[in-house]
Amino acid sequence: MMDSNTQNIQNRTLIAVSNNQEKSSYEFQVKNQYEFSSKGRKLKVEMVEEADGIMLISCEGVRYPFEIVSIKQNTYEVMVNGVSYTFTIETPFSLKRRQILAAQKPADAGEELRAPMPGKIVSVLVKPGQEVQPGTALVVLEAMKMQNTLSATEAGIVGTVAVKEGQTVSKDDLLVETKKPKA
């Protein structure tokens, strides 16, 4: 897992920030690759790969099956015991940066899904008021003889659904509008 890209993280404080709705965070200190501490509690953690390729993470002697689903910059998606967790690893500085940027950013208006090309709406998969996550399929558009599933890129609540099944749309026609959930 150690990429050429991995920063030297020894003897540093890092914060894991959950990307789920609740935005919980967990601060921990890294001593080296195997030793961590959090709130004064020392933790010994080790990754083990079994002969059949299954990864196990051993924490204080207890082993959990575990898989890294994706790593994108400092965003990690891991599966532990069959439950998926998405979080970012921040340094105290990058966390401060996030807060500065969040304070500057005007309240996000939400997202407008527009037709990327002319085609026919095969199905509409969401209703107004429905909660969506990044990646939730919104509509299926048939174009170039291919069914294209168009998905949300941000979390939100569906506002207007501007199209019906069977309707033909032109490029850039509004399909679905989502609003930011109220904080």
């Binding site: 050429s4 996030r98 500065i100 174009a143 170039m144 291919m146 069914q147 490029k171």
Partner: protein, 513 residues
């Protein structure tokens, strides 16, 4: 040591005093790292050698200028993972990082040295633009930099990172380099800022909407990489550098790994859906073929109907280009053609073999695309593929129709090896279109046209849209078991190790622009 040395030390001290606590704090409060922190982070620890640290600013012809040592840019060289790189980092804390004559000279020097020594150039940009007080001298500074960008183009890799503002003429230096990185939320690029846009056009637009990282990575295609903050961005630059050579006469670094080149990947047999109208994710195919599933995608949020990026095969860097059936059916439109062409040009300039995964129903039809110039823009992709002399391999996964078959690296335009999966459909056009033209009269006269059409389409599929006709004519070298794709590509690549092509002498070709 005597007085001379004391004077030397005193000068060093004055420079250090310039970087006091306040210097760091100002930039940190903006959520950004300082120019100094950035450049030190880029280079291997202790390897950075600064050039021209003490130069004072040139005199101003108008208004007030305060002179700082280094004139608002930190420039020099060092090693990145052991390889020599030249870099400069504009300092927003020193006169807003504005570009004066001396500032420009330092950047020019870095470029000249990089060109002389065959080393990549990295520019970390955070600048308010031309220094108004220095007038035309600062414009001349930009002109000199632009000229170096063009001279170095295709000779040494040039990487620009926009880590703050880049406005006006300043955007054209990055625009002429090979890759542009941007930080989310703290960088922007535009030719004219929101204030002028408002005055001239009465258009109300924020800085972020006009030229933020999101806009440039999704809509305009100006930036290829977006990172969440300065530290991640610099790691991204280092990662990119591992895939590319230092100049146009070297090869990319060989990075051995434990992924066997003859790995059989059975899951590739089931990845293409039976139904030709069903999409799938071509990135899955790429990951299953390349070393350890590592694919470093370039411009992943722009023109997503084509996927381009770097990976390795048996430790050798390859440039991957793939149609993405998941987005717009993988058809080629203006943006995807230009994105593909530019990536091919980079690979060809820097000796990186090109591997193409093809599943393309054709060029995007419609008046929108035709009027925007799909002809001249599609021609860029065709030109780039044809001109490239690096090893060029193709695997046809599924659709390969019409002009798009030719454009996507057909053997006729110089592709070295073409492989096809058994699911490949190679023809002048898809079954529906072909039948409508070939049997127009019969269909019009038929009692049940729909039934006749279905039969004819099935017949066409059976007899025409398969890889075996092309295989028997030699347009495809081999129809392969998808599970063996990795090994077939690796062997083909090895056989092209010493590929050489001789071309007619010319100043340069006239690529359609």
């Amino acid at each position: 040591m005597g007085q001379a040395f004391d004077k030397f030390l005193e000068r060093q001290k004055r420079l250090e005093a310039q970087y006091d606590d306040n210097y760091y704090e100002k930039q940190h409060n903006r959520g950004k790292l300082t120019a100094r922190e950035r450049i030190l982070m880029l280079f291997d620890e202790g390897s950075f050698e600064e050039l021209d640290a003490f130069v004072p600013s040139a005199g101003s012809s108008f208004g007030k200028t305060k002179s700082v040592m280094g004139d608002g840019v930190i420039a020099g060289y060092g090693t990145v993972q052991g390889r020599q790189v030249f870099a400069y980092s504009q300092d927003f804390n020193m006169m807003g990082g504005s570009l004066g004559a001396v500032h420009a000279q330092k950047i020019v020097k870095v470029h000249d040295m990089a060109l002389k020594t065959g080393s990549p150039v990295v520019g970390l940009i955070d600048s308010g633009g031309a220094r108004i007080q220095e007038g035309v001298s600062s414009l001349n500074g930009y002109a000199n930099i632009f000229r170096r960008n063009v001279l170095a183009s295709g000779v040494v890799p040039q990487i620009s990172a926009i880590m703050g503002p880049a406005a006006g003429g300043a955007v054209y230096s990055p625009a002429m380099t090979d890759f542009i990185f941007m930080t989310e939320g703290t960088s922007y690029m535009f030719v004219t800022g929101p204030d002028v846009v408002r005055q001239v056009l009465n258009e109300d637009v924020t800085t972020e909407e006009l030229g933020g990282a999101k806009v440039h990575s999704t809509k305009s295609g100006v930036a290829q990489f977006v990172y969440s903050d300065d530290a991640n961005l610099i790691l991204g630059i280092k990662k990119l550098l591992t895939y590319i050579p230092s100049n146009n006469i070297e090869n990319a670094p060989f990075v051995p790994n434990d992924d066997p080149v003859d790995r059989i990947e059975e899951s590739l047999r089931d990845i293409v859906p039976e139904d030709p109208d069903k999409p799938y994710d071509v990135k899955e195919v790429i990951r299953l073929v390349v070393d350890k599933g590592r694919f470093f995608e370039v411009a992943e949020n722009f023109a997503q109907n084509i996927v381009v990026g770097f990976a390795r095969l048996g430790g050798f860097t390859i440039g991957v280009i793939a149609n993405q059936p998941k987005v717009m059916a993988g058809s080629l439109d203006i943006d995807s053609s230009v994105k593909g062409a530019r990536f091919i040009n980079f690979c060809d300039s820097f000796n990186i073999p090109i591997v193409t995964f093809e599943d393309v129903p054709g060029f995007m039809p419609g008046s929108d695309q035709e009027h925007q110039g799909i002809i001249r823009n599609g021609a860029k992709l065709l030109y780039a593929y044809t001109r490239a002399t690096v090893p060029k391999l193709t695997v046809i996964l599924r659709k390969s129709y019409g002009g798009a078959y030719i454009v996507m690296n057909a053997k006729g335009i110089g592709g070295d090896y073409s492989f096809a999966w058994p699911t490949a459909e190679i023809a002048v056009m898809g079954p529906d279109g072909a039948i409508a033209i070939l049997y127009k009269k019969e269909l019009a006269a038929a009692e049940d046209p729909a039934k006749l059409k279905r039969e004819l389409v099935a017949k066409y599929r059976e007899e025409v849209t398969n890889p075996y006709i092309a295989d028997e004519k030699g347009f495809i070298d081999e129809v392969i078991d998808p599970a063996e794709t990795r090994n077939k590509l690796y062997r083909a690549l090895k056989s092209l190790d010493k590929k050489s092509v001789s071309l007619p002498r010319r100043k340069h070709g006239n690529i359609p622009l």
